[in-house]
Symmetry: C2
Amino acid sequence: MSYQDEVFAQRERLLLDTALELFLQRGWESVTVAEVAAAAGIGKGTVYKHFPTKDAIYARLALEFSRRCLARYRAISDVGSPLVAMRAVIRLAFDLMAQSPVEVQLCLHCERPEFLDRLGSDIQSEFRQLDAEYTEMFHQFLDAAVSHGELKIASVETVYWGIEAGFQGVMSRVAAGGFGPRSHTTTLPTYFDYVADFMIAGLVGAPAVGSVPHIQDEQQ
Amino acid sequence: MSYQDEVFAQRERLLLDTALELFLQRGWESVTVAEVAAAAGIGKGTVYKHFPTKDAIYARLALEFSRRCLARYRAISDVGSPLVAMRAVIRLAFDLMAQSPVEVQLCLHCERPEFLDRLGSDIQSEFRQLDAEYTEMFHQFLDAAVSHGELKIASVETVYWGIEAGFQGVMSRVAAGGFGPRSHTTTLPTYFDYVADFMIAGLVGAPAVGSVPHIQDEQQ
DNA sequence: GTCATATTATGACCGCCGGTCACAAATGGC
DNA sequence: GCCATTTGTGACCGGCGGTCATAATATGAC
């Protein structure tokens, strides 16, 4: 029984690796379950003994990537002062994304609520859990930076979402395949530095709230 | 001939409106071409006289939304100083997104290069054109802010991408249906204000480059 | 008004894909 | 070695996007 489980687990890994390999070669959208099964030397029906749905394969790969990244962040999150460490984590995140654009695409695909709703509640809670860990990590950074005197902001919440938005924005850009048809005046690494700097600048300059008067939007 | 063209154009509008209506009711993913045709009281084959592909319908709706937004931005872009106007535009953008999350989802869907590649080159260039107009608008804002003395930055390019990332990030969040399962400590409008303020703070505090030392990433 | 011709609309049809399931193959206890 | 049970399989299904021969309709000469 234990041996059988071993074989089963190995086959699951093989399936995931094969799927990711095919996603890299052709776009992940156009790869079919039958192709993955054939490439792994496995019958199509067997795939469904491991994953209830094709979407579940996407979800597993996205979760694994996201967790792998999180581990990397934690490994370096005690470097220097909170703000320095936070910038290092952000910058590392961008580099990791650039190395695996396909997985970033999968993550964005899996984040969508219509996608999540179709998944089993167990996988849903895995996503929620990971999301909570990310949220907590950045909140800890920000709290530490405040108590360290690096940041002088009224509330961490006012800047957290700016960070999150910048993060998501870079994910979108990487997933979209860099700069596409745009002017190639900028390379990906310098783009990363620009955005990372911008995020830090947004933190440091945060009390700017109110320094620029707000125009109230008067649409219907 | 002119009358026939009129009828044809009206039917196209009807198709687009009906499609969007269905996308709102059920998710846009699960709506089929046959359903749209039936809801519009039109044969399925006729749909393909107007649009070569289902994706082309997505593209048209995304383009229309994007253009409609751009017109709104331009209508208010001369309010106050460059930075004030820019914040107003950003804030209006967020509000418009919140009003039409489905269209934001479509925009994100259509931005993906694998999607664009499948489209006709004419529609591709429409997307490129719009993208260029957005880029130009924000560059003009930034240039004006610099020459107005509101911003003291070495190069507009160093902050542009930070703005763009924040923008994309909010699009992702709105498309993802607000805050989903997260703590509802924040409402959408205050979230918008947080991010808009953060972006302005990132601009104002921009010379912060170098103020926080960078940690070089030493992965493989 | 009528009929021949050109144009436009249609839904039966095709290929393909995700997912199922009756059956085949393999495993393991005796 | 034999049977019971578990595990693997690919033919099959429903439904989708997209096509096309044909039906329906508009056009225009007389």
